[in-house]
Every structure is written in structure tokens, then in C-alpha cells.
Amino acid sequence: MMYKLWATIVKDTRVLLRDKVGISLMFVMPIILVVVVTSIQNSTFQLVSKNRLQILIDNKDTGKNSAQMIKAIGNIGLFKVTEMPKGQTNISDAMHNTDAMLGIVIPANFSQRVAGKAKNVSDKAMTSFGLGDSTKKATEAKDVDPLTLYYNPVLQESMRLSVKGALQSALQMVESRETLRTLYFSINEKQLPEKLENEMLNNRTPINDVPVSKDGTKTTPNATQHNVPAWTIFAMFFVIMSLGGVVVKEKRSGSYIRLKTLPTSYHITLISKQIVYLVVTIIQAAVIFSIGMFLFPYIGLPALNPPSDILALIITTLICGWCAVSYSICVGVYADTQEQSNGFAAVSIVILACVGGLMVPSFAMQGAYKTAASLSPMHWCLEAYYTLFLEGGKLKDILNNLLPLFIITLVIQFVTFLGLKRKNLI
């Protein structure tokens, strides 16, 4: 029995090592994917934190409030502010010409309307304080015409919402400043001292952001820490491109039929494939994690910090790899041709990655998608990896992720068994 298993493992290893395309799909492609995705995510992060988004401003107003608005936008720290080039009247054209992702049009009466609104609020406040003339009607205020934000459609929804939030904050600052000045003047009949104005407006309570980890460490997550574990899972499921095809090929060549005529059990064939390809997935994970830890700093990316509980990392990788291998064999058993296997494999792992939270965070999913996420093995593996890599979790913290992953794997194994029986292969 053990010699038969050993001979089958040797055979499967030889077949694998001679499948150069399969090996490159399992190793080279995922490594390229991890490096590219992490680099892009990292550059997106730097776009916001270091490089800044270019914003083009078409100021049709000549008053001081619009100037202060532009200054406030610049002070946010997210944007590189550029004025409309001279002679250009259409902001869309100007955005194309300057490669700006964002554009704002400040309407011509902006300062006047902001001042009017401030005067109205000030009058009402004076009356409310009992300092104003109660018989005098508060100054009529017309609504401030809206600012118009133009954006490149490439900009993601989440980024656009962040930009809008930041602009609202700048606008509120300008309006508050004007209201404060008007109110001060109404009370004291002199201008608000600049020092006091700055103290009142700029003395904001700071907000500290602290990542909450399970082990109390306060390492700030970065693009590497997010992407390397996620795309490692994807890489492990890439074994389907080789293994699925191998199973189909064996079926079609009649090898399974021949095995039925030999004094051996089909279990040996399945166990052998699972051992060989499980080793492959572990090597994949080890290679990608090593690249994250040791190579990334040399190519300008943040280094991957390994989790403190290495045993938990190994167990998670083993179960995830086993699940990926089981899924690959299952697809190979049900597919009739290699084309079917490869096509289904490629699409299905992308879908599993999508619903599993690799491409869109699963916490942002709603309703049916949330349920679908819980059926994707990648979801549970990702949750386990994130607990280890981002939250500093231990084995006990990921057991509730590993159990569903284990159960899904057993279900896949059972479905494979049914397929083998149905196709009279065992």
C-alpha cells in the first residue's frame, strides 16, 4: 500500500515537473499578480498620502471668500491645487489638457452669497442674544449657489466620496469664518483680530487613528499587508489550472479505467494528487510571503510583516491549500475536456475571489452577497489570514474561520466522490 502510494506520488511529481506551462501558471503568474496588485494599491495609497490628487479650479468669483475657499482646499492636504489656465473657459477641456482628475467651478457670486448668508445668521443670533433691534427684520439671505465638482470617471466611488467630504469641510470652514467675522463685527463694531480668528477656527480637536489588533501591537497596515495574504490565496487556487487539466487528461486517456483493472484503490490516486499539489500550494505561499518580506523593500514596496503565530499561519495555509487542491480535482472530475476545465477554472476562481472579499471587502457586501461570501472558501481563508497578518491574532482567534473552511473542503471531497462514481471512474 505504502509503496503504491509512493510510486503514485513519484509519478504525479514527475508529471507536474514536466508541465512547464502549468508550473509557470502556478508560480510565475501569481507572483506577477501579487507584485503588480500591491504596487498599484501602494501607488494609489501614495497618490492620496504623498503625491496628491490634482484639482483644477475655475474661480468665476472675484471676492475674498472664494480665495479663502481655494486656500482651504489646498490646506486639506489631499490636493494639488491648479488654477484654470488662462484663455481656457471649459473646465472639462482644461481637465483633459492638464490630466487633472478633479475640477471645481466656484460660481461668480460665491463670496457675495457666503457673506449674505453669514450676515443673516449673525442678525438672527444678535436678535436671539437680545442685542439686536427686534423690530428690524433679519437680512434676507439667498442660498449659496452650489460648487460644481467635475471628476474623471476613473476615480472610484469611494475616492469621490472622500473628496466630496473634504470639500464640504473646506466650505464649512469658509462659511464659519465669515459668520464669525460678521457676528464679531456686529457685537464689537470692529474687525475680528486675526489671532483670535485663527485660534477659534484652527484650534480643532485632533483625531488619532489607531489600528485595533488582537495582540496589542500598533503596526499601521499597508498595501503589502493587505494584498500579499489575499493574493496568496488566489495563487493557491491557481493550481486548478494545472491540476484540473491533469485530472481531465487522465480520465480521457483511459488511465482511470486502467487503474480499475489493477489491484489497487482509487484512494491512492486521489491521496497522491492531494499530497503533491498540497506541497505545491505550500511552496507557493512560502515563495510569495518570502517575496513580500525580503524582495518588496528593494522594489520600493513596504515589507510584509509575518504574523507572530507562525503555527497558525502554517495550519491556515495547509487547510487553504487542501481546499484549493480538492476544488481543482473536483472540477477536473466533472469537466469533460481540458478546455472546459480551464475555462470554468479561470472564471470560477475569479468569482470565488470576488465574493470571497479578495477584490471587494466582504464587510462592504450586502444581503445575498454576504451569504455568497460565506460559501466561498477564499473568504474564510482571507478572514483567517487578515486576523493573523493585520490584527496580530493567534490560532484560537481563527478557529471560527478554519472550521467553515474545513467543512467546505469536506463537502468538495464528497462532491468529487459522487462525480467519480457517476462517471464510473472508481
Binding site: Y3, T8, K11, R14, V15, D19, G254, R258, L259, N424
Partner: protein
């Protein structure tokens, strides 16, 4: 293991594919004595491959029994499977591997130990003229060389009964001669051959006894010379057409 005079003893066998409405076989009886060179012939769709699959345990009969050297198929699978070899029509071998590597794998699964495997590989590669390419990948081989490797896999464990499903299809005359001569040599040493092919002229040189099968029924069975005399035919091909008609099949 039971003692019997029959290599194959099929008794009242019935079989139906799950997707088919009609039985492929019903009440089929066939006995092949030990040491015989037995040919099974019939037009496409007659049931040759199904019967071959039933005799090798790839399919399980719905009724009746099939005994191989006195041992009922489907019971004590591993013990029974050691007794026979199967050479399928498909090249059920690994193209990425060399003949040696293929034989090492199948030899181990057939229950041989490392030393026995090595000895059999050397013997088979020499007798089938594959020694020069023993370490080359099979996928680069010609059809004839692949057929020889396919045959070597089927006989690596020196089975008492050898089932051959069109073992010479698509090969040149030289390879056919080499394969047939090797099969005759095996038979001389006691191996029962159960053979199916559409090459009836080849079968005349190889088989002693034949059975003609059509629509799941054995329509003729006996010694080739006796059958030719009985049906007043000159050769097996004429006999075949006489019994199964000239209409094209599936």
C-alpha cells in the same frame, strides 16, 4: 484461488447502461478455456467493448456471474485483478513520462516490488525493442512505439489472462508483426489471450477460437477452421460479413 479449466466463465450475464432503455446483454453465456487464444469480433456497437469491460471489472454485470480463473469478478477485487492484464485501445499511459517511468508506476500498482519491477522493465523493453528509448518521453514516440509501451504496461505483472482491445490499431506492418509475435510467445508460456480487433486477417493468424457478437448476442462461436467450413466461407472477413451483414453500423 479456485481451480478451474476456464480462464473466463460468463454465465447468464445481463447488463444495461443507466442511460439506455434496452439491455446491452441478456442471458449471455461464454466460456474461454485456460491457455486459449480467443478472438471476439463484431461490428461497431455490437457490444465488444462492453463485454471486455465486464470481463475486466470496469463495468459490473446487473445479473449473472463472470468468473476469472474461477474467481467471481467484483469479489476480492485486488486478488482477482492480479490475475489479468488489460491492454486498452486508448494509450492509457503518461506522455510526459518515459517508458521506464510509466512501467515503474504501473508495476507498483500491479503489486510488484522494486526489484521485480526493474527486472520486468529490462525484459519487456528488450523484447519490445524499446531499450534505446527507455528514458525518452513517450509523447515524442510514434504510434507504434506507444502501442508497444501500452502492451508492456498490460503485461508487466505477468498476468495469467490478458485482455487486448485492438492492440495493433494504427500501427505499421513491422510493429504489428512484433506485437503479434510477442503475444504468441506469451501464449506459448501459458497466458490466455482474449483479443478483440477489426483486423480480421490478423486475427486469423493469432486466434484459435473466435466468437462473433452482434446486438449483444453471440451469433457464432468455435474454432476458426470449423466455422469457415460450417458456413462455407474462405476467410474470417467473409464469414464476418456473412453473419453480420453488409449494412453500415453506428
Amino acid at each position: 484461488m479456485a481451480v478451474t479449466e476456464y480462464a473466463i466463465d460468463i454465465s447468464n450475464v445481463g447488463f444495461k447502461y443507466p442511460d439506455n432503455e434496452e439491455m446491452s446483454f441478456s442471458g449471455l453465456d461464454l466460456k474461454v478455456p485456460k491457455g486459449e487464444r480467443f478472438g471476439l469480433f463484431g461490428p461497431n456497437g455490437a457490444g465488444k467493448t462492453t463485454l471486455m469491460n465486464l470481463m475486466t471489472g470496469v463495468l459490473i454485470a446487473d445479473q449473472g456471474s463472470i468468473c476469472l480463473l474461477g474467481n467471481e469478478m467484483g469479489k476480492q477485487k485486488n486478488a482477482v485483478n492480479r490475475l489479468f492484464g488489460f491492454v486498452p485501445q486508448d494509450f492509457s499511459l503518461y506522455g510526459e513520462l518515459s517508458p521506464v517511468e510509466n512501467l515503474e508506476f504501473y508495476g507498483a500498482l500491479a503489486g510488484l516490488n522494486k526489484q521485480q519491477i526493474k527486472q520486468r522493465i529490462d525484459e519487456l523493453l528488450a523484447v519490445l525493442s524499446l531499450d534505446d528509448v527507455r528514458n525518452k518521453e513517450v509523447r515524442k514516440f510514434s504510434g507504434g512505439m506507444k502501442r508497444r509501451v501500452n502492451l508492456a504496461i498490460g503485461v508487466i505483472h505477468e498476468p495469467a489472462v490478458l485482455f487486448l482491445d485492438e492492440p495493433t490499431v494504427g500501427v505499421d506492418v513491422q510493429t504489428r508483426h512484433a506485437i503479434i509475435n510477442y503475444l504468441l510467445e506469451l501464449n506459448k508460456n501459458g497466458t490466455t489471450l482474449i483479443y478483440t480487433s477489426h483486423q480480421l486477417s490478423e486475427a486469423e493468424g493469432l486466434c484459435e477460437e473466435v466468437a462473433m457478437i452482434d446486438s449483444g448476442k453471440i451469433i457464432a462461436r468455435g474454432n476458426i477452421d470449423q466455422l469457415l467450413a460450417e458456413y462455407k466461407q474462405d476467410d474470417l472477413e467473409s464469414l464476418f460479413l456473412n453473419l453480420t451483414g453488409k449494412e453500415l453500423r453506428e
